[in-house]
């Protein structure tokens, strides 16, 4: 069996999906509740989010498992249900997927800082290994380690994910530093690339943190230092806080225009993060067609 990431990238650009959290909130997820728990509580509503992206033209959809590692779930008292939440999360996206849609399973950060000694590398490794195995058992086509601010945590997650034998995408969050080109831990795209390639990533990228305009130089710099497929999911521009809520003013058309530049800069996988929804994916699909 060939590597699904390489195969898709060879026939790219590949349209991925948009944000999940806001879509779940629109379906009634209360503020502060655990989104991943909805795989157990409201699988139908989670499936409708996935369905929204499949219908909009996503060729790759993710899973509602972003925060489903044991350490992040612990805050909600759900650590011992980690494996179950992940397996079901893949099954839900699989039900929504058409025969040509791939299901890449999402793995987000633990929310604890290794550098501050809040959690041990061993505990982080065990949590990601447990999650990755459950996602693989659930039938994921690949794993996506995303929204990582800490290279050390990303590497631990990657090493755990690779043990499943599935191909792995790793994407970091940039936006810190004078030029907005660092992770909060201070790493540049070149530094993360060197480390993640050495650790065996199958694709690299960036998500969240920035809008598509700010993402372009990041994408170009990643392209310059690796031949691996790139995975880029920007936010819908930079938010404005209005009466305590983040409002993204970028329209799907504006977003799609900028996303085309990202594809031209070498991104094989293109989608959206915060502030994007199925309408963004539908417009992107139309613009790229």
């Amino acid at each position: 069996m060939g590597n699904v990431i390489a195969e898709l990238a060879a026939h790219g650009p590949v349209i991925t999906d948009g944000a999940w959290g806001t879509q779940l909130q629109a379906r009634g997820l209360p503020i502060g509740d655990c989104p991943d728990a909805w795989n157990l509580l409201h699988p139908d509503r989670v499936q409708s989010v996935a369905q929204g992206y499949v219908d909009a033209g996503s060729q790759v959809i993710l899973t509602n498992t972003f925060g489903a590692n044991r350490i992040a779930l612990e805050r909600h008292g759900l650590a011992d249900r980690a494996a179950e939440i992940n397996r079901i999360g893949v099954a839900i996206s699989r039900r929504a997927a058409s025969t040509r849609t791939k299901v890449f399973a999402s793995m987000g950060p633990t929310g604890k800082m290794l550098a501050a000694g809040e959690v041990s590398p061993e505990a982080v490794s065990a949590a990601f290994l447990e999650q990755a195995r459950a996602l693989a058992e659930g039938g994921a086509d690949a794993l996506v380690i995303e929204t990582m601010s800490d290279l050390q945590e990303a590497r631990i997650a990657l090493e755990a994910a690779r043990q499943t034998g599935l191909p792995v995408v790793v994407c970091m969050v940039y936006g810190a530093g004078r030029d907005g080109d660092r992770t909060i831990m201070g790493h540049t795209p070149e530094e993360t690339t060197e480390a993640l390639v050495a650790s065996g990533a199958d694709a690299l990228g960036a998500n969240c943190g920035n809008g598509p305009v700010q993402m372009l130089p990041i994408c170009q710099r990643l392209r310059a230092v690796t031949h691996l497929p790139l995975w880029i999911k920007p936010n819908a521009g930079l938010p404005e806080i209005v009466e305590g809520h983040a409002v993204y003013h970028m329209t799907p058309e504006e977003f799609a225009m900028e996303a085309i530049a990202l594809v031209q800069a070498g991104s094989s996988f293109i989608g959206g993060c915060c502030g994007t929804g199925p309408d963004f994916i539908r417009t992107l699909q139309r613009f790229l067609a």
Binding site: G32, G111, K112, M113, A176, G177, P239, I241
Partner: protein, 211 residues
Amino acid sequence: MTDIQALYTAVLEGDAPATRELVRQALQEGVDPQKLLDETLIPAMDEVGRRFETNEYFVPELLVAARAMKGALELIRPLLAVRGAEPAGKVVIGTVRGDLHDIGKNLVAAMLEGGGFEVIDLGVDVPPEKFVAAVREQGAQIVAMSALLTTTMPGMKTVIEALEQNGVRPKVKVMVGGAPVTQRYADEIGADGFSDNASGAVRVARSLVVV
């Protein structure tokens, strides 16, 4: 004689063992602990903050420096307590109700401690009544609140209202921060201070206790 410049550098570079050793030496030689704190340790942490704000330092450098400072404070604090010296101020800090994120809050707490404040950390998902109780029981001058989510951010306003309803609002200054929080939002809810980074938070806290 202890090399004071070396102590300054040790904190700046986050060398915890060297910091501890140099502080121990200085105290043994009879250097005044308050002077050591005010003239060497706090200025070193201020420089750490400055480098963070000018993007020379990132989170890891901030963390190791704060850790070195914490070790120094463990040696100095008991000596200052004996003579009844007060900290720069007492801060009650927490992430507001419904929000479980603590990375930003912990960074601010570490920098405030490094800046000479006594910090009472209430943790995450802190209900308004817990902030009120902490202010009453601990006699804090500052309430510092954090939120990562736009959806939990309105909890800051709820805390300010609770402080008002319980009659303790005039006794404390309120400062807020977190990814979605802006100066405009801070003004809107009647907070006294705002910072978009951990180092700036120390400056804000100092300005609030001076008033």
